[in-house]
């Protein structure tokens, strides 16, 4: 079996002169001509990620004064042609097995999407070979972080905006409901970056790296361990949070009527062909994190076995028109070389496995570097060789009173601190040493609900910028009807450096923290975002 190489979509300036993109488009024409009942159709494959088509999943008519999201129902999407025959959905046993599988806000995010791409890549290659195309075709990736040509590659490759293919036929890569033009790269508000690549731990309980963990979201690189009840929206890892979620929101974008583009919402995202190039890049980053960054994936049997470890469905991808399934576990796809695919081995690599493309140097910020934090706190000793303890205790130290409603612009929330609990934080800083690592402090927005998936929230604590987060997945997580329990999303932010600053300036004895939340894009008239609670936790080592 050869090793296929996935290449940069911006080769040949990202135009249809790039054979990887041209053959991708030609194969899509074939897949898109098939009806949705065919498991090898584009529409079926998109529904594997998520859909608003089956009766239980469609978005309902809104109540008075409620925003209307029915434009996202697949029957209302212009990109899907009549030939998809949406009225004839596949047999129930096929939809039960394959549809609505995407794994978000969980430590299965990376392996599930790798298998999804591998199955699609093989299907497309078979079609391309049937069209007398190259037998070594592999899915191209879109590295929006690439800084060559002054960051021009942050734009969507031009092949995706052309009206026609060179033969004059309609370009299937062009999507009417894609409103973003590219990715805004940076480390500030509403920007995507690859800072996550400097993390050294995949998940809680994994072996800690020598330099100390990077842990921007509180769930490390790959997300939190998923247990019996995966309600969603709770345990998003750093890679998934940014760039993954951020890029979805930026590429989906809003139209003038403030309607989200397909890429901006999980249950429509995989309809857009750019989706798979975005995920090829996320997969490339994971491979680079393993191979170049020398960071291991979890060895925990719960991760390696996948959701089946907790009695949930196995990952399954259709291989042919009959719906023959390839079942896989995370351990089957934990490497790109020698991947276990449908009873055989499969191998692919990337032409660029640099650890990071934008944040090419390890951030000096204490969040990303324990040694830097301890030095900054004037803690003497062999800080370079410290390893973090695995078993961390968590404790609530403060919370807002009642829920918070966000409209456009910014909202301030007062997070009251419990004196005794906060004292534990300040004591941990006062007594800190290389053998007694001070607490980390996290801010959490709990139960964030709304429907504006492509929006971003920027969070400040005591007027200091913490982070922007994409609201990708907000609508699904907020729906009470249908199959969702409507818990909303939860976002966690590491604010340890802000607390360290308070300590260093001798201002840590406080009763409250001011949290400012900015809604980055103006909300349409009737829309609002609510947050059940803003809370602060200490995590001791």
């Amino acid at each position: 079996m050869p090793t296929f190489t996935r290449k940069n979509a911006w080769n040949q300036n990202g135009t249809l002169d790039n054979p990887d993109l041209l053959w991708y488009a030609k194969a899509l024409q074939v897949m898109q001509a098939r009806p949705i009942a065919d498991p090898t159709s584009w529409w079926f494959y998109a529904a594997i990620h998520g859909e608003y088509l089956l009766p239980g999943n469609t978005l309902p008519k809104p109540g008075p004064g409620q925003p209307d999201y029915r434009y996202l129902n697949w029957v209302n999407i212009k990109y899907i042609p009549v030939g998809a025959h949406l009225s004839t959905v596949p047999k129930k046993k096929l939809t039960d097995l394959f549809w609505d599988q995407c794994q978000h806000a969980t430590w299965y995010f990376t392996p599930w999407h790798r298998g999804y791409l591998v199955a699609l890549e093989n299907l497309i290659r078979k079609i391309i070979v049937g069209l007398n195309g190259p037998a070594d075709w592999a899915l191209p990736y879109w590295n929006y972080m690439n800084q060559a040509n002054s960051g021009a590659q942050s734009d969507i490759p031009p092949a995706f905006t052309e009206q026609h293919l060179p033969d004059g036929s309609a370009n299937p890569l062009l999507v009417a409901e894609r409103y973003g033009s590219g990715v805004t790269v940076g480390n500030g508000r509403r920007q995507a970056n690859d800072e996550c690549q400097w993390d050294t731990i995949y998940t809680e309980g994994a072996n800690p790296g020598a330099a100390g963990p990077g842990d921007l979201t509180g769930y490390y690189y790959g997300g939190g361990e998923t247990g019996f009840n995966h309600a969603g929206g709770e345990e998003t890892g750093d890679l998934e949070s940014n760039p993954h979620n951020a890029v979805h929101g930026m590429v989906g974008g809003n139209n003038k009527a403030k309607q989200a583009g397909l890429m901006g919402v999980p249950n429509t995202a995989a309809l857009d062909p750019i989706f798979y190039l975005h995920h090829a890049n996320i997969d490339r980053m994971w491979a680079a994190w393993n191979e170049t960054g020398k960071n291991p994936n979890p060895t925990d049997a719960n991760w390696q076995t996948g959701p089946a470890a907790h009695g949930n469905s196995r990952f399954a991808m259709p291989l042919d028109v009959n719906g023959t399934a390839w079942y896989y576990k995370p351990k089957d796809v934990s490497t790109t070389i020698g991947l276990a695919y449908n009873g055989t081995t499969y191998a692919y690599t990337y032409d660029d496995l640099a650890l990071a493309s934008f944040d090419t140097k390890q951030p000096a910020r204490p969040l990303m570097n324990l040694a830097a934090r301890l030095t900054r706190l004037n803690i003497a000793g062999d800080v370079k060789n410290i390893k973090m303890a695995n078993k961390k205790e968590r404790e609530l130290v403060g919370a807002s009173q009642g829920s918070i409603t966000l409209k456009s612009n910014e909202t301030n929330a007062n997070v009251q601190l419990k004196t005794a609990a906060w004292k534990s934080v300040s004591n941990s800083l006062l007594q800190a040493s290389v053998t007694n690592i001070p607490d980390e402090v996290f801010l959490q927005l709990e139960g964030v609900k709304g429907g504006n998936d492509v929006n971003f929230l920027s969070v400040y604590v005591n007027d200091e910028f913490v982070k922007s987060v994409s609201l990708f997945g907000l609508l699904n997580a907020s729906m009470q009807q249908g199959a969702s329990s409507g818990q909303g999303l939860t976002f966690k932010f590491n604010i340890t450096n802000i607390v360290d600053n308070l300590h260093l300036s001798h201002n840590i004895d406080i009763n409250s923290l001011n949290v400012k939340i900015k809604v980055e894009d103006e909300l349409p008239g009737e829309e609002q975002i609510t947050i059940d609670r803003v809370s602060v936790y200490r995590v001791s080592q």
């Binding site: 089956l54 939190g224 361990e225 309600a231 609530l396 009251q416 996290f442 966690k492 809370s535």
Partner: protein, 255 residues
Amino acid sequence: MKPSRSKRLAISLTIIGTSVFAWVLLLVNPGHILGIVHCHISDSGPSAASFQMLLAMNPFSSQLAGWGLMVVAMMLPKLILPIQDIYGQVFKHQRLISVLLFVLGYIGVWIVAGVFIITATLVINVILPKSYIPIAVIGIITLVWQFSPIKQRCLNRGHVHKRLSAFGWKAYADVLVFGVVHGLWCVGSGWALMWFPMILPAGHNFAMVIVTFIMMSEHLEHPRFPGWHIYFSSKLARTIFTRTQIIIKRTLQFN
């Protein structure tokens, strides 16, 4: 924030231990507190007198105590996730009292439901003592309820974990309300299944084990669209099977 792995494990083991203890009590059945052990009907057929006699031989209070024990044994493991959630959401010194208030609210709802179910069971035993007709009728009701959209809605709502106030009396009120609301959805999904073993003339304990298995299994399922689904959840069986495989593999690796 979710408690650490070790804390989650400690919570799970404490709850399972309590449930096992309640199961032992149930199976030993001290004082015959469970089930209608003395059934009597006068020659003149069902009457107020025969109902009074039945109550005298099977005091309502002991019936209710038995019901409460049954709820603790069968339902407590279903509270592992919400209790872990509460543990993480409240201040350290409020953890124990918050968990107890939640459990109190939850069991309180089941006790109220028990009053109705026990009364109905007593009435049935007066009208049709030792008959299989009630079990057939309630069996059909249980099956219809089992596959109904209302039941699925209740199961879905049972997945919602309330965000709790952190400060003042509202913090305690919130956990109590959380327990009551969680209990209401749980009663909504499980009342028929819980009633079924109560009216069995025989095989009560075996039926309770089966019902516990079914309720645990469907509780572990993800929320799904409410509708008429003829579906028997095997999730608990699948979970036990896979967990056993993992434990065996781990053991073999260490040896």
